[in-house]
Symmetry: C2
Subunit: 416 residues, 2 copies
Amino acid sequence: MSKNCLVAQSGGPTPVINASLQGVIESALENKEIENIYGARFGISGLMKDKIFDLTNEDKKEIKLLQHTPGSILGSCRYKLGEIEDDITDYEKIFNVLEKYNIKYFYYIGGNDSMDTVEKLNRYANYNNKDLVVMGIPKTVDNDLLVTDHSPGFGSAAKYIATSVMEATLDSRVYQRKNVHLVEVMGRHAGWLAAASALAGETGLNTPDLIYFPEITFSTDKFVRDLKKKAEEKDNIIVVVSEGIKDSDGNYIYASESSKHDQFGHKQMGGAAKALVPFIKEYVYDRVKVIEFNILQRAANHVASKTDADEAYQCGKKAVEFSVQGNASGKAVVIKRTSNSPYQSTIELADVDLIANKEKKVPRDWINEAGNHVTEEALQYLRPLIKGEMERKTEKGLPRYSDLEAAVTVRPKKDI
Amino acid sequence: MSKNCLVAQSGGPTPVINASLQGVIESALENKEIENIYGARFGISGLMKDKIFDLTNEDKKEIKLLQHTPGSILGSCRYKLGEIEDDITDYEKIFNVLEKYNIKYFYYIGGNDSMDTVEKLNRYANYNNKDLVVMGIPKTVDNDLLVTDHSPGFGSAAKYIATSVMEATLDSRVYQRKNVHLVEVMGRHAGWLAAASALAGETGLNTPDLIYFPEITFSTDKFVRDLKKKAEEKDNIIVVVSEGIKDSDGNYIYASESSKHDQFGHKQMGGAAKALVPFIKEYVYDRVKVIEFNILQRAANHVASKTDADEAYQCGKKAVEFSVQGNASGKAVVIKRTSNSPYQSTIELADVDLIANKEKKVPRDWINEAGNHVTEEALQYLRPLIKGEMERKTEKGLPRYSDLEAAVTVRPKKDI
């Protein structure tokens, strides 16, 4: 009987999450152990509802275009499985579908919450002697996954942020007037994307001036002091703040009236930068502009890092290779940096429970003593990750995306 | 005695305003009629204060990099000259400086307010028999200049907007849930950039769903009706609004408490999209995301249109050529579209008073009958302007800008 594989995506998108999907599909197509390749729509959530479709015979040119296509093309979810001990309803649904399609290999592309899903499915399979190899393929712009040197998706988001901070910096210097530009970047608990903005200063622009991290307790008094000091030196100040900066009581510095929680208990972020505007206007400069990179930082495939896209692809490819070799269930592929200059990396396996539900913060000694910029060590870590330009696939002056997007958007309604 | 030229920039930056500067410098360097090339810092405002520096001997490689460098590298201003009849103080200051540096040719790169400056300086020169050729070189992301088929800078901002709307669209479809993404683009009185967002639908994504223009009176009732109709067809709705949408009383639809005016009497814009969020939450979908492209749309050189950059360059180059041929003072270079398929254009001369202080709106019949999207005629006009990819000049994975930026930022303090 044929052995089939299934792939799904989970959590927030990254600019290169579909490159990992491409790696899985292309590798599975070549692999003799695998017959059919299925995709699940909307992650584990769609899987439970049998939203499965066949990817085996997709046009190979369109599969190749996945590396140029942002946005979790299979669809995603933020669905957390309950404890196996409490309720097996979800698990039974999932394994019914897996068995219906004769799935032997299941690859889940996601972050630390998704690794929790992989861990639980693996445990359930073991308890019940199911013949399933379930593996995690890491992705997150937040770069907060443990074990892996860095997460696929981070390098491209970092490149977008550094590039846009450079552009905003030149824009801020145009008029002869004093101003502060406050740039807000993603990062609930980890300041990796905030740190990456420091790369904008690598080619001579002397920007950003100040960076604030969720890892460092935020004080508006100190913030105003930092800014006043900068204001003695220059008229145009660029400040990067992580959305997740918190005060000494552990409360988020954001103005949003909303304090809704998503299903994993994360607060809905937004507005850290806007909340700081009154302090700047009162004590520093009257002109303040807030720039929120918003979802663009996780969607901007058009300025993706080639290093990142290549690694995202390799993670997908290697997951398939490891899966058929045995002893891979309950594991995730991770990136190991083997050399920094020239930059080299390999893909290895790691137990998924070392990653699930955990968060990797920016080390304290990679942030300067004043807590408002990065150190050289951080820059050494960050530099290689944004390097390399993707060949552009364009049509009519715009990105040419894989038509798999149209296919999966329409098909589940028609075929399933 | 040698004849020198002076170039300055004015108004808001565009992604390719420095390509026009490059065109002026390279053309002037080749021209036998012109000896030294000077730049004025911060437009007419810096010119009056003698903030002049010599560009003649800049490194030619760095001059070439200007086409890859956003942000009005000479610095800009929003300074409006008074009427000659009322007060000649400013004019005397300006002509003192022009005479000090023996300026015969003055090129002012700017929008409709800057064309007013060109017109007045030309008139003052005529009244007083000054030997000055003063010319306008158009630029504006808003595309609201008359006479010229389109304005240099618009195509690149349009390309950034269309690309980012595509990326945001894919991001919006990731989760299985109903949502509205509200994208706010620049455009005080003219909806050209809003119209350009329609290009995002050219390659199969079926986006944006609705577009709102300053040219069409905005009604929140109709807006809600439009959205409800879309919500019958799809879960993920993308709406583009121009910052300048106004209600039937002519008031701007924006939440900002600030209603400050700049020196030209323009209201400070911002917040049109945010002001609409409560209506969507109450009557359509609970999930709404606001994406403001902010200054990024006028600074994103990294995704500039080659067609636009080439034309911006040609405008600078031709201005110099026309200026030495005679009968060019008080005129601006303008773009004439000679063919749409294949797209071809030429650069011609036009009287600056046909452009100064005027605004070109989107024609009513280029907006659909419902007033919430564009027509095919608008698309035919827009399509060629975003075409072509710039060769990327990168260093360390980031844009490599001209070092003229560093030079002009530092030099006026040291040398002048």
